[in-house]
């Protein structure tokens, strides 16, 4: 549900919604949601001084209801 919610939230604010993909990874410290977007949309998803990324984290954390969820914005073209 969280990954779907995040994907929806991001799709609505970018130019290339079809390029948005959210993957969930579980590790010891909880769940990490990785947001993949088109390179040109990176700035939009991060926002000035990280403001938009912070807003996304805030909403997802609220939906997670106390569970620890990490939200990472990944630049697909620069992945190691």
């Amino acid at each position: 549900m969280l990954a779907d919610a995040l994907e929806h939230l991001v799709r609505g604010i970018v130019d290339s919604p079809e390029d948005v993909k959210v993957t969930a990874k579980n590790n010891r410290r909880g769940e990490t949601l990785e947001v993949h977007v088109h390179q040109d949309d990176l700035g939009r998803v991060i926002g000035r001084q990280g403001r938009t990324a912070r807003a996304l984290r805030t909403v997802i954390a609220a939906l997670a209801g106390g569970e620890s969820v990490r939200v990472d914005v990944v630049d697909t073209d620069r992945r190691r």
Binding site: M1, D4, G12, R44, T52, R54, T58, A62
Partner: protein
């Protein structure tokens, strides 16, 4: 190398309400544009509620050219309460994302106001009380009164309330410390 440059974002967030003296009449949005704004925003929020499996009625209202969207539930909903958050923190975040969704879909900056379970309505009452108390203190003690830091939207409400009471107010401080100081008019 170029990837390190700070991305140029058309972040509506900061620039939408750069000061608290926002000119309410500046936005001369046409009726159809306002309607589109409300529809885009409501769709964005409705699908989020669907995904999160939250019951909520979404209402769109336009007053003075500004779009107000409210989400309410018939029964008390814990999840909707979560979406307000402490001091409306989550509500602000969701409002910001909703504004960005309008910008993305229409190319127009949005100054829509989102409310959930009447949080803002209630807070408006509080802010008016805060303004009244500050004015009373200025009147009685003859000193300027500094209020707690607030966001742009809330400062606007307090500025208006103070002005209605015939007193002066200014915003001081930067960023998260930006707050209102109430004083007597010269």
């Amino acid at each position: 190398m170029s990837a390190d440059t700070t991305p140029e974002i058309h972040s509506a967030a900061e620039s939408v309400e750069p000061t608290d003296t926002v000119d309410e009449t500046a936005q001369s949005a046409s009726p159809s544009r306002v309607e589109e704004e409300g529809d885009v925003a409501a769709d964005y929020l409705e699908e989020l509620l669907d995904i999160a499996d939250v019951d909520g009625d979404i209402d769109i209202e336009v007053r003075n050219g500004r779009t107000y969207i409210s989400i309410d539930a018939e029964e008390e909903s814990a999840t909707l309460q979560e979406l307000v958050g402490r001091d409306g923190e989550v509500l602000e975040a969701l409002q910001e994302l909703t504004r960005l969704s309008v910008l993305s879909a229409t190319g127009n900056r949005s100054r829509l106001v989102l409310d959930i379970t009447g949080y803002r309505v209630e807070r408006n009452g509080e802010l008016n009380r805060i303004a009244e108390e500050a004015v009373a203190k200025v009147k009685n003690d003859g000193v300027a009164v500094a209020l707690a830091p607030m966001g742009a939207y809330e400062r606007k409400i307090v500025h208006d309330a103070v002005a209605d009471l015939g007193f002066a107010s200014e915003s001081e401080g930067e960023g998260p410390n930006r707050h209102i100081v109430v004083s007597a008019t010269e």
